[in-house]
Amino acid sequence: MSRASVRAWYLVHKWTSLACTLFLLMLCVTGLPLIFHDEIDAALGEAPTMVGSGSSGEGPGLLPLDTMVAKALEARPGEVPLFMAFDNESPLLTVTTGPSPEAPADRMTIQLFNRSTGMPAGTAGEGGVMDVILQLHTDMFLGLFGMLFLGAMGLLFVVALVSGVVLYGPFMRKLDFGTLRVSRSRRLKWLDYHNLLGIVAFAWMLVVGSTGVINALATPILKIWQMNELAEMTRAYQGRAPLPPSRYGSLDRAMAEARRALPGNNPQFIAFPGGAFSSKHHYAVFFQGATPLTERLLTPALIDAETGTLTDARPMPWYTQALTLSQPLHFGDYGGLPLKLLWAALTLFTTVVLGSGVYLWLGRRRAPLDQRVREVESGGRLTPVPAE
C-alpha cells in the first residue's frame, strides 16, 4: 500500500473514530447490562414466571382476547388498546394501552397478564434502572433525534472499523498474528492490543454496529412501510375517517379470521388501529414464520377492526425484515447464556479498542502526521516524536 493511501486511511480512521468514540463508549457501558436484562429483571423480581401453554396458541384454558383487553382497560380507564403481544413458551400476554390511538411511546402503559388465569402480573417499563439504561442506549432521552443521532454515530463507527482493518494490513506486514509487545513502552503495548482486539472482534463489531444503525432507523423504516406497502394493502380505506375505538369489534373474531388466512402460524403481536404498525382501520395481526429459520420473519394479516373481515395478508418487505432480523443480532439474546457471556466479552474488547484508540491519539496528537503514518507502516517500530 502506498504511503499516500495509508495516510488517507489513517486520517479517515482518526476522524471517524474521534467523532464517535465518546458515544460508542456510552453505548458499550449501557449495552453491557442490557445483554443480561432478562437475568437482571428476574433477579430484581421484575420478571413474572408463568407455567402453562403459550399465550400465542389456541390451547384450552386460554382466556379470550376480548377478556384480556377488557381487563387491561379496566386498569387504565379511558385509555385505548394499542398493542397486544404473545409468548410461545408461557401464558404471558402483554397489553399496551395509551390515551389515544396515536399515543407516543412515552405515554404508553404495558400491562402483563397471565392468559390462563387472567391475573395481572405487573407493568413493564416503569422507570426502573434497566429502563433508564435502555433509554440512554436507544435515544439518550432525546426521542427520534437522539435515535437518529446515535444511528449516525454507529455509521461513523462502521467506517472507523473498516478503515482500521485497512490499516491493520500495513501495520502487521512484518509482525506475526497476535504480537503483543508489552514490555517495551506503554504506547507499543496499547498499540498492539488495539490492533489485536480490533481485528479479532472486527466481524462481531461490524455486525453489532450495523444492526444498531438499522435499529436506530426503526421509525423511518416503519413510516416508509406504512406509506407504501401498508397503504397499498388498505387502499379501499383511503380517505375514510379513522375508526373510533368505540367501534372496535371483537378481537377474537379478528384473530380467528387472521388464522384462517395464515393457518399453522402463531401470532407474535397485534397492532391496533392508528399506531405505527397498522392503518387507522385495521387490527394488524403479525404472524411468525412456521420454522425456526423463518420464525422472525413476520407476515401481517390486516383485519377490518370493525367488521372482523380480512382485508389483505402479505409478507413484510425486505427492509422491515432487515429491521426484524437486526434486533436479535444487536441484542445477542437469541442463543442462551453462553452467547450472552461471549457478547459481554466482545463488548469489553470493543471498550478496550475504543479506550486504547483515544490513548494512542492523545499521546502523539502533536507529532507531525508523517511520523504517525510511519508508525503504522513500521508496525509500531518507529514511534512518533511530539513536536516541541
Partner: protein, 54 residues
C-alpha cells in the same frame, strides 16, 4: 507461523459470522455452534496473551 497477515483474521471473522448466524436459525446444536464460533475471537486473544506476549 502463517505468513499472510490476513489468514488468521479471515478465519476468525468467518468463525464469528457462523457464530452470529447459527443460533438465529434454531436451537440445540445450532446454539452450540454459535457459542463455538463466537468463542474463537475470545480464544484467539487468550492465546495471544499467553503465547505472543514479549
Amino acid at each position: 507461523m502463517i505468513r499472510s497477515s490476513w489468514a488468521l483474521p479471515l478465519l476468525i471473522a468467518a468463525a464469528s459470522i457462523v457464530g452470529l448466524v447459527a443460533a438465529l436459525t434454531g436451537d440445540g446444536w445450532r446454539d452450540a455452534l454459535s457459542w463455538a464460533g463466537l468463542a474463537v475471537p475470545v480464544a484467539a486473544t487468550a492465546w495471544a496473551m499467553r503465547v505472543r506476549r514479549s
